[in-house]
Symmetry: none
Subunit: 433 residues, 2 copies
């Protein structure tokens, strides 16, 4: 079979060409394809217009061994890709009964009849390896080069093709389940590449930079990137090796060296783990429970915690006491405290956390009260001021922070700071059994 060295990505969607959003599918695909040792030689976005899509596919096919096309497989009239792909890559469309059955089953599980438009999604190119869609309705597929299928014609390009649905929630899992396996025999190199990410919360990017910059310069066998994201700082380590074992050993060694240069417990997790997952794992391993009492974060801490599958074995409940009346009614915050110190105060945060812990019977409670913005600030209590409290069996710790972001990010950082306080406490207070 033909070996693939180069790949071109074609994204379709009029919205992209109108600047509604950046083509993040292409970015994600480029990362994955580089990880498979392929060279991405072009990324093209075309509007949902037959002539534009066709010319983009022909351009891509001239440039690369393999064309990956995303989008345009939906049920509506502006989803034109299936027909164009079949013409350009030389394979007539055939009805796939299994795809049809999956679509019928998907709608029947929801107690709905299959809408007319969805029927056209049961057609796939003849000879294609079909990627069945467990995350939506449109199937994807891989079509080998025309000459391997005994197809030729003036209008038929030589490249192989992969089609994927446009929604990222379908494209990503479909790629990961099907594409590496189907391409394995066509990838020439023994090149193993992996990017390993260390997540850090609560330190400025520049401070992290000073800890690691010397090592970054010294090691030429590994690529480093420091990325400041809204959710914290990512240190990305990219290694290359001839075998999986050598790659694992290299990444392990560099991770240990990096962690040793950073403050104790600064790295909260690696790769796809979230701060809430780390907190959940710690709680679970200790057999402890947490509850929340939220004002300015309005449910965001409990949302983050319950994002974690299995959180029901360590998250008990949350009190979202947005109004002052709710703080009194649900959490027994005293009217005195509210009138003397105000709802946004160390004292209110302290009472909220202590009450939540006592009422729910949990080991820990996290509380927030603050001014998320854009309105509601004053000279003494500016927008972004948040008191964050952690109640434990022995004490209530309150942290005062002033965040300088917008409403959304002020809330996110108040919630993450609360989670990181609980993580830090558990790291410093191991359970002795």
């Amino acid at each position: 079979v033909k070996q693939f060295k180069t790949v071109a990505i074609v994204s379709t969607g009029t919205e992209i060409l109108q600047g509604m959003y950046a083509d993040t599918n292409a970015q994600w695909l480029a990362q994955r394809l580089c990880g498979l040792g392929l060279r991405v030689v072009a990324e093209t976005a075309a509007p949902d217009d037959a002539a534009c899509v066709e010319s983009a596919l022909r351009f891509a096919a001239r440039r690369a061994d393999l064309v990956i096309c995303s989008g345009g497989l939906g049920p509506t009239g502006d989803d034109v890709n299936c027909e164009i792909l079949s013409r350009v890559f030389g394979a007539k469309l055939v009805y796939d009964n299994h795809v049809h059955d999956m679509i019928v089953e998907r709608f029947s599980r929801r107690g709905v009849e299959v809408p007319t438009g969805n029927d056209k999604q049961s057609y796939v190119p003849e000879g294609a390896s079909v990627f069945y869609n467990d995350w939506g309705t449109a199937p994807g597929w891989f079509l080998s080069p025309a000459d391997e299928r005994g197809v030729s014609g003036d209008d038929v390009v030589a490249a192989a093709a992969i089609a994927l649905p446009g929604p990222p929630k379908e494209l990503k899992p479909m790629f990961d389940r099907y594409v590496p396996e189907i391409l394995a025999e066509r990838l020439s190199g023994d090149l193993f590449v992996r990017t390993h990410t260390l997540h850090i919360y609560g330190y400025p990017e520049s401070e992290i930079g000073t800890y690691v910059s010397q090592m970054f310069r010294a090691r030429s066998d590994v690529d480093f990137t420091i990325l400041a994201r809204p959710m914290g700082i990512d240190l990305r380590i990219t290694g290359h090796a001839a075998t999986v074992e050598a790659l694992d050993a290299l990444i392990d060694e560099v991770e240990r060296e990096t962690v040793s240069l950073l403050p104790r417990n600064a790295v909260y997790g690696t790769d796809n783990v979230s701060l809430a997952e780390v907190v959940g794992d710690l709680l679970k391993s200790r057999g402890e429970w947490v509850s929340t009492a939220e004002s300015c974060t309005g449910g965001l801490i409990s949302k983050f915690l319950t994002d974690v599958p299995g959180s029901s074995s360590w998250f008990e409940c949350g009190y979202v006491t947005y109004a002052n009346s709710a703080k009194m009614l649900m959490l027994d915050v005293s009217a005195d405290t509210l009138s003397t110190y105000g709802a946004v105060s160390e004292e209110t945060a302290r009472e909220m956390a202590a009450s939540a812990r006592r009422l729910s019977g949990t080991d820990y409670a996290l509380a927030t009260t603050g001014i998320a913005g854009p309105g509601g600030g004053s000279d003494t209590k500016p927008v972004g001021l948040v008191y964050i409290a952690l109640a434990t069996s022995t004490e209530v710790i309150v942290k005062k922070q002033v965040f300088l972001f917008d409403r959304e990010l002020n809330r996110v950082h108040a919630a993450l700071t609360a989670l990181n306080m609980l993580r830090g406490y558990m790291m410093e207070h191991p359970v002795h059994s």
Copy 2:
């Protein structure tokens, strides 16, 4: 002079093709160009490689009247664009003294000699209108179509070209200062373009498609897009007109026609509004309050509601009763109900909503209980099953849904369905004063 109708964007930079970042320059340029009444027919990203850049430029030039190329004008060896652009568009490079002086001045202000590499940045194509760079060193430029310059050749393309530096901090201000003015005489009439978005929740994309497809085909004066997003369906209407007034009238007319074809109240809002904002606006105008009682959504409904600035004037509180013990303790759900019907049941949802409304003293309460997944499902209660309840002054309405997404999206849709139930109720029950 030649009038421009179509434009193609070429972005260069190896990092883009390695998936380091999404091509946000292309997104920004597409927005600006659509705003100028041009149609963006292709966006292509190419690595910093002469053959790749040249083929991307030639593809772009075949597709469009104007090619806008960004990046690759820097001082280093991998910045190859200037030479390639001059060859493809047929203009030899000439030394520009003013550019040179600006570069020298820029470095001298920093007390630094001009590095060798920067000298090549003083060359621009002969006959180009130069965009002097106040934000960096590389100049940009506009080159009119070859035939207007009396240039021809087999290798020379017919399109006009604009070159811009890659760093967004240089590209954006340079575009805004120079490009609209230089293109003004070449833009054919309809200078005013606007995209208006109608947001819909609770209908499948294909169903919406059947309502509007006939009108979409019939109206050639407007572009339509249907976009299925995680948060619902967007219907995008893009109109063009010669005056702002005509454009407003056109968009208004098309919006009214579209809404009249859709189910009553299907459109919850337009442009940048969120479902939670619409719910908040309705509550505020009615002087009513809402509270929440959440199990599977774990605080997400209250998070969505408190995302809205000013939500403290209509959102009272939320009960995040994740554990069964919390449902009993915080919301008086009876042990009988939990043991007879289970936590995930219509009866539990009903009691949660009714209790939250009663305890908090609000006009409405929204409740959810379900199985977000990935674990916890059974034959009778599958993953994705959610009961969503709305308590009002006269009744408790419970809706049963089975979502087939992942944990995150199942939770998002349970929360949005709850918000949409409250919106629907308020729309159908106007306040009589």
